[in-house]
Subunit: 219 residues, 2 copies
């Protein structure tokens, strides 16, 4: 469905009360809000329609079904990350900026990680987000396959720490580690701050810098 | 609840038909089967009880609730990964073996990744799995905090590729990339095999080796 077909319903039905036009942006925002609150399984066509104050058949007039909704959600998050400015940066700074933005976007939307990690990428904004990252490495002489591998690994690191940032309380408690036969782990955990979000953040940033260093090694 | 209290119900109620004893192992297997099939949200106390052929109150006699069920599930997967043999290996081989086993276990149970990544680790087997990894690095002179960071990053890489291994079809199609303004990505994707599971596997193994090399850099 092209963007020009979207948002025309209110004009066709002048007798209905005025409501915000049913744009792709509005549909994506509603779907993302439902996923953030209740997860992907709760994000049915009916739930999105209800949130937008329309009936499900009206929504089907604008998006073909849940896979199309998911494309819109993926685009919305990709747009939060996408920064063509990285094309002007050396590859290491591009990787740092991309990785940080990627992590932060998914830390805001952890309930999207599983479904977006296991379904095909089909939307233009995500594909261009990837292209931009790959071009900024390619321009600095990177082989394509190696740049792609760097992209995948960076994504997975970022997503894992985005989950951790959202964990319910501390993932590990020193006393429990000591009690259950893990003395070295107990000692390490005791020396870390007790704020799970801060821990996830500092661990990710540290590993991200290390990850970038790793790609200075040839081959 | 200690293990000795478990599995005694059938002896107390001799009039009931014989069924497998309600052990922690049986409860964990039933819960994991439900999560594998339908996700964590479907894994209610009632659903686990039904699968075991008992009523929910009987199940509550053995486990306190969903958090306790989750501890059992985490233990079951940790047991699939745990290999004290890594203590005999140099740190790089230990990391390779641990990372591979971790990835394979979660590739078999992708529906557990989100919930296990966002809830506290409290069970003895997982804590000892971590301890064993940390000890094998520590024994080779690693600083504890650095070893712990290596563990976290390794987990997240493995989990991300475990998701990818389970993706519905190919994550990226070359023709679509070309069509939507991502020519370099299209070229890279065209040169890769078209088997998503094989792609996930080879990308993970390649990045795992690179990840291990990265920790040869001091600091």
């Amino acid at each position: 469905m092209s963007r020009t077909e979207v948002g025309t319903e209110d004009q066709r039905k002048p007798g209905r009360p005025t409501r915000p036009p049913l744009t792709e942006g509005a549909i994506a925002d509603a779907a993302l809000a439902i996923i953030d609150e209740s997860g992907w399984q709760a994000c049915t066509m009916k739930a999105v329609a209800t949130r937008l104050g329309v009936r499900a058949p009206s929504l089907y007039h604008h998006v073909e079904g849940r896979p199309a909704i998911l494309d819109l959600v993926r685009s919305t998050i990709a747009a939060e990350i996408h920064d063509p400015g990285i094309l002007e940066l050396p590859w290491d700074e591009a990787m740092l900026r991309f990785g940080t933005a990627y992590y932060r976007a998914f830390a805001r939307h952890p309930n999207t990680i599983e479904v977006l990690s296991t379904t095909p990428v089909r939307d233009a904004i995500t594909l261009q987000l990837y292209e931009c990252f790959l071009q900024s490495l390619h321009r600095d002489g990177w082989d394509g396959a190696r740049a792609f591998e760097a992209l995948l690994g960076l994504e997975h690191l970022a997503l894992g720490f985005a989950f951790e940032w959202n964990a319910e309380g501390l993932m590990l408690e020193s006393a429990r580690c000591a009690e259950l036969g893990a003395p070295l782990l107990a000692e390490i955990v005791a020396e870390r701050p007790e704020d799970q979000a801060a821990l996830a953040e500092s661990s990710f940033m540290s590993l991200l810098r290390r990850y970038i260093e790793m790609f200075r090694i040839p081959g």
